[in-house]
Amino acid sequence: MTTTVQPQLPDNYKWGWNDPEAEGKTFARTPKGLSEDVVRQISAFKSEPEWMTKLRLKAYRHFLQRSLPTWGADLSRIDFQDIYYYVLASDKKAQDWNDVPEYVKRTFDKLGIPEAEQKFLAGVGAQYDSEVVYHNIREDLAKKGVIFVDTDTALKEHEALFRKYFGTVIPANDNKLAALNTAVWSGGSFIWVPEGVKVDIPLQAYFRINSEKMGQFERTLIICEPGSQVHYVEGCTAPIYSTASLHSAVVEIIVKKGARCRYTTIQNWSHNVYNLVTKRAVAYEDAVMEWIDGNLGSEVTMKYPSVYLMGERAHGEILSVAFASDGQHLDAGGKIVHAAPNTTSLITSKSISKGNGRTSYRGLVKIYPGMRKSKSTVRCDALILDKTARSDTYPYMEIDEEDVTIGHEATVSKVGEEQLFYLMSRGLTEQEATAMIVNGFIEPIVKELPMDYAIELNRLIQLQMQGAIG
């Protein structure tokens, strides 16, 4: 397979590139397109148990029956037959960094993984062309009984646990893309935190798409047993391709009684990726689930992390940032379902649109009858940087209980002339001043991120502001 980097790539685009040597080193992949055979092949490659093969096939048939959503972004350009559904980069899993193939390492070097690991990485599940090739579990995690492996390994080594939870939060028939993911999933992270165990360092995994027209369909499953605590960080950076690529992940999280889970994503796919992700968590009694979701990259993103509050006093929180510049349509938001009394939720969304970029906040707060004393607050702020940019807010609310407190507020503004004038009179250029205002605007989210992610997010926003990306 040969792929050439587009010549018009800006020199200072640091995060998106193809490693030409890596391109030739792909060891196994299914033919282009999707069919029952391809689904069977994927399952066979992985020597999966029969129930998984059957589940994949069932999901595939459901995928054929369902239609794509008619709302949100325009998805009509996706050609599901023009995508490779499975590419294996390396046929063995590395136990430590030295075993990782050299060309893969080069890719990660540019992402800064080794330094990050030296600092405070707990384990690295690094996904390279659909398959996790590197996994390192710190000893103390293993001692505590925490399972942190790639999802394929989980199926092999912890089949009973895996089977108990897989597809219970997002069943294969949930939507067309969840069905697709269930049919062809590969990689992703599997985390199981035993009762009462608190993981006090964020677990991280890096994903990359690295073959042309290569879709990624990772599947992440996190189970927090009662009283446990975990913070998982997912980061995406991707090379630039000449044709549109599809990323369609499924993330399922179960937060049991009194447990706490935070899931952080900084998404920076190259500007030709369709990023269509289903993320859902269920939170039981006294549990806390938090989604922190940053969307900077991709051509089209449709992503609405959701929390189903299933037990009394459960709390759900969604913090979402989107920055769309030229040619991007980021349709992000969140969904909270109050299915137990005394539950509380908070959605905060910050979106920025630049050039002819378009951001949309799309969210739902649903309160079922009888869910007394539930409280929900939704707050959306949008900043529109250019005359040609667009910002939409679609906050759906369905309230079927009287004894609740629900509030929603949104503001939309442009960068004020006075603010700019003030900063520029202090010696900043207009671009620096605008960047500073934008940084202030997203501050509430940045401060929730681990340090190195906060830095990365600020850097990526700088790049967006300079027009260096896209």
Partner: protein
Amino acid sequence: MAITRIRLERPPLDRDSVERFGVSREEPRWLIDQRVAAAERYLETPWPRTDVGEEWRRFPLKDVPYDAIAEDIPRPVPLAETGYSVSRSGFVNLPIEMLWNAPEPTPKPFDLLRSLMEKTDGPVAQAAIRAYAEAAWTTGHFVRVPAGLDIPHPIEVITVPSVSRTIVLVERGARATVVERLIGGADEPQLAMPILDVHLEDDAVLNYVQIQEFAPSVWILGSQQYRSARASRLESFNVFVGAHRAKVGIGSDIRGDGAVVHLNGLVAGGNDQKIDFNVFQDLFGSHSESILLYLAALYDHAKAVTYGVIRVEPESRATSSYQECRNMLLSEHAGADPIPVLEILTNDVLRCGHGATAGAIDDADLFYVQSRGLPRDEAERLIVRGFFERVIEKVADADVRHEMLRALEPRIGSIGTLEAA
């Protein structure tokens, strides 16, 4: 013997019966042609569906009694007894059909009416309903306030359950208050389609108050379209108390610079009522303002849906817009779906935003009022009244305020002696 009813998917209509209807009413040819054109448009326009778009998703369309469209065939009443008026200044307040039956010296502004009735724009979600109503309306009302005229007293319009058209024209620099009362209804289920068209010319000022008190058997599929020209000012009030199910699409189209539109709503819902609005605030021009304020007090099993879209067009400049939707749930079975959508296609906005709330009366408020010695139910009434007061106090005319409260009180209760004190 059992009677088998055929389930209708939409109101039946055909071109020929529309034409015959117009001819039987001795309508002018242009009007019959308009009806026929609307009938043709109706046949091409898909009827709303709950699974297409957001506007109709929450409305029980499948239960609409399409076979029971309310028809009020107007009886000829001597003009002197109607209380309606025409004057030499050009002021008109008349049932449309009286324009061609009225005695002299009624001015017959056919051309004017014709051009107004030709404007068929309105909320897209209500396109089929409008087309049907334009083809098949049985009652109509025309209010014209000629240029420069300031009419101090409220102009009253009465609309009964029917397929009806109300057309209000406030010409350049004129000022008026129009109160439209929707009253009446049979015991059996009935479907009413009240269609309102408001035209504000440059510098016109209009307070439009609709007080909807239809009988509990009535279904409403309605549409209201407001068109605002340069520097005009509109205060619209929808006071909804009656009807069994109501779905009303409201469109506000600001074309001129510096126009101001305030869309106010008071919904007092009870029993198993369902009151569903979709509102589209479209902003063109520069320095225009469009503010929506809808307040609902919901009792029993009542449900309010308010789906509002603000669209700030790319060619607009320095506009202000806001949507505020607050729902007070006064029973554990009441419900509200406030959905305020923003679509902003430019960064040149002075202000744009929205706020929505739903919930029970605030415990702290209740405690405060009760601590002043009021029993709980009275405290609750006082708080609901205070909640609605924000909108009521915007109406300048005391008689109109009184009318609004008279309509609301059967539901929200009276604060009687307290008010006197």
